[in-house]
Structure formats: structure tokens, C-alpha cells
Amino acid sequence: MSAHESSSEVHAVGSTRLFVMVWVWLAVITFIEVFLAYERLRPALMLTLLVVLSLVKAALIVSYFMHLKYEKISLALLLIPSTIFCICMIIIFFMPDGARLMQMRLGH
């Protein structure tokens, strides 16, 4: 990956067949999600499962369609951990009081 010296040389990676396969997988996961939606699960469990499946789809899109898999590894190391860190910070800030309010609201 790091062997690429200029940005215009990096692009020849990924065939039409690979992109179609990625698309097929994304469609399959979409149908799994739709199927899952009709299972009568607890909302929190349902939401967790759907978000996990969506993260898999996001990873496929970022790696192949957005080409990040074929860029220098330093780019992915800059972008992804910092994004995850900020999202964790949002959760850490709001989760404790959010959980307290939810308990008051749902009354148990």
C-alpha cells in the first residue's frame, strides 16, 4: 500500500466484478435488515443489531467504494480512530444522565 508514490497511480485497483460483488453483499445485508425488522425483539436489542449490520455495510462502502482500503494506511489511521473517538465522547457525555432520565420516564 505504501509503495504508491503519486495519487494518480493508486487508482487502478478494483475490478468491475469486485464492485458488483460488494453491491450484492450490501443488498443482501439490506434484505437481512428488512427481514429482522419484523421479528418482535426488544427495541434496544433491535436497534443494536441493526446498527451493527449497518456498520458492516459502512465498512464495505468506505473500504471499496470510497477506496480507503487502497490508500496509504496513514490516512485510515488518521480518519477512523478520530471519528470513533468523537462519537465515544458524545456517548460518554450524554449516556449517564440519559439513562437516569429514561428510568424516571419508564418508571422502573
Binding site: 427495541p43 436497534l47 441493526l50 470510497m66 440519559g98
Partner: protein
């Protein structure tokens, strides 16, 4: 980056010296990636707030019937995914310097975006007729309307801007005003819009399917 120099042409010793590109991508592409990170955080905050509202309200409305809402939103998902595929093929054609094909793929991608937006707007109109607005619902849970129209509306705005971006890109690239790198940067934006929908669709639509009957 074969020969590292600063903007005024002074050679530098390392990529960190100010002249080179440490990530081996051009600055427009890097700029788009930074925009995508900031927009990811915007949508993350909205979707986290929505998730909390959804879980904290046991009587959350479930208005989405299999037909038309779920059938339509699933088709919209597949259309948006397909438009990502045509975008990828457009970028590949641009890197082969095949201008005619690139323009065709870009316009096809924009067409996917238009189809998505039109379907989504008919879906909105259905909901308006059923009494759902951004500030009220028949069940008396205004948070449903606020989060649904707020998040899908912001996403639809992104799609519309993307369609305009792609049409300008197709026109300009066809005329030779833009390079294949510019096409790739517009592709990054388009895939990101697709990626956001991959979260909006299950979290908003599939969490509110009608289970009656």
C-alpha cells in the same frame, strides 16, 4: 510527490517538512475526507439523539406498512446503492481517460439520486396526509415527526446537493475543465451520502415498521 518541494519550490527533506503530501493524496481529496469526518459527526449526533428518543418512548408510532412505506424505502436503498455502483464505474472510466463513458456514468448516478429524492418526497406526502408533520403525530408523539423529518430531510438535502454536484462534474469533466481526480472527489461525497442512508434507513424506517395484524 516524486520530488518534494514547498509551494514556492524549495526542496524539503521529509513529507512532514511542509512541502510533501504525507497521505499521498491530493489536497482536494484530503479536504473532502475531512468534510466527511465532520459530517459523520453531525449525523452521529442526530442519530444518537434519535436513538435515545426512540428507546425512551414505549409508545413510539409505528406507521410504516410493508406497502407502500417499507417497499418504497427498501427500493430507495437499492437505488442509492446502485447509484454508488455507477459512481464507482464512472471514477474508473475517468481514470482510464474515457470522457464519454465517465459523463454517462455520472449522469446515470445523478438520475439515481433524482429517483431517490422523488420517491422520498412521495413518501413524505403520504405521511403528511396521514397526519404526520415535523411538529405533531396522530399518536401525540411530536418527537417522531421532528426526528423523522429532521434527519431524513437533512439527508435528502445532501442527496439534492450531490445531484447538483454530479451534474456540474459531468458537464465540466465532459468539457475538460475537471480532472479525473476531481471526479473521484465527487465520488467520495456521493458514497458518503449513500453511507449515511445505510444508517438512516434501518434506524428510522425499520425501527418503526407496523406490526399490526
Amino acid at each position: 510527490m516524486a520530488e518534494m518541494k514547498t509551494a514556492v519550490g524549495v526542496p524539503v527533506s521529509s513529507p512532514w517538512g511542509g512541502g510533501g503530501s504525507p497521505f499521498a493524496i491530493n489536497s482536494k481529496k484530503f479536504g473532502m475526507w475531512l468534510f466527511i469526518v465532520s459530517d459523520t459527526l453531525t449525523f452521529s449526533a442526530l442519530l444518537l439523539a434519535y436513538s435515545y428518543s426512540r428507546l425512551a418512548n414505549p409508545n413510539w408510532p409505528r406507521p410504516f406498512e410493508i406497502y407502500p412505506a417499507i417497499a418504497k424505502s427498501t427500493s430507495m436503498t437499492l437505488i442509492l446503492l446502485a447509484s454508488s455502483l455507477t459512481m464507482v464505474l464512472g471514477v474508473a472510466a475517468a481514470h482510464r481517460n474515457d470522457r464519454a463513458k465517465t459523463v454517462r456514468w455520472l449522469l446515470l448516478t445523478a438520475l439515481g439520486g433524482v429517483a431517490f429524492t422523488v420517491l422520498h418526497l412521495t413518501e413524505w406526502v403520504n405521511l403528511f396526509h396521514e397526519g404526520y408533520t415535523p411538529w405533531s403525530t396522530p399518536q401525540g408523539v411530536p418527537l417522531f415527526g421532528a426526528t423523522f423529518f429532521g434527519i431524513t430531510g437533512l439527508h435528502m438535502t445532501h442527496v439534492s446537493i450531490g445531484v447538483i454536484y454530479l451534474i456540474i462534474m459531468a458537464y465540466g469533466y465532459g468539457k475538460g475543465k475537471f480532472t479525473s481526480d476531481d471526479v473521484e472527489v465527487s465520488g467520495l461525497y456521493w458514497h458518503f451520502v449513500d453511507l449515511v442512508w445505510m444508517f438512516v434507513f434501518p434506524m428510522i424506517y425499520l425501527m418503526s415498521v407496523s406490526l399490526a395484524g
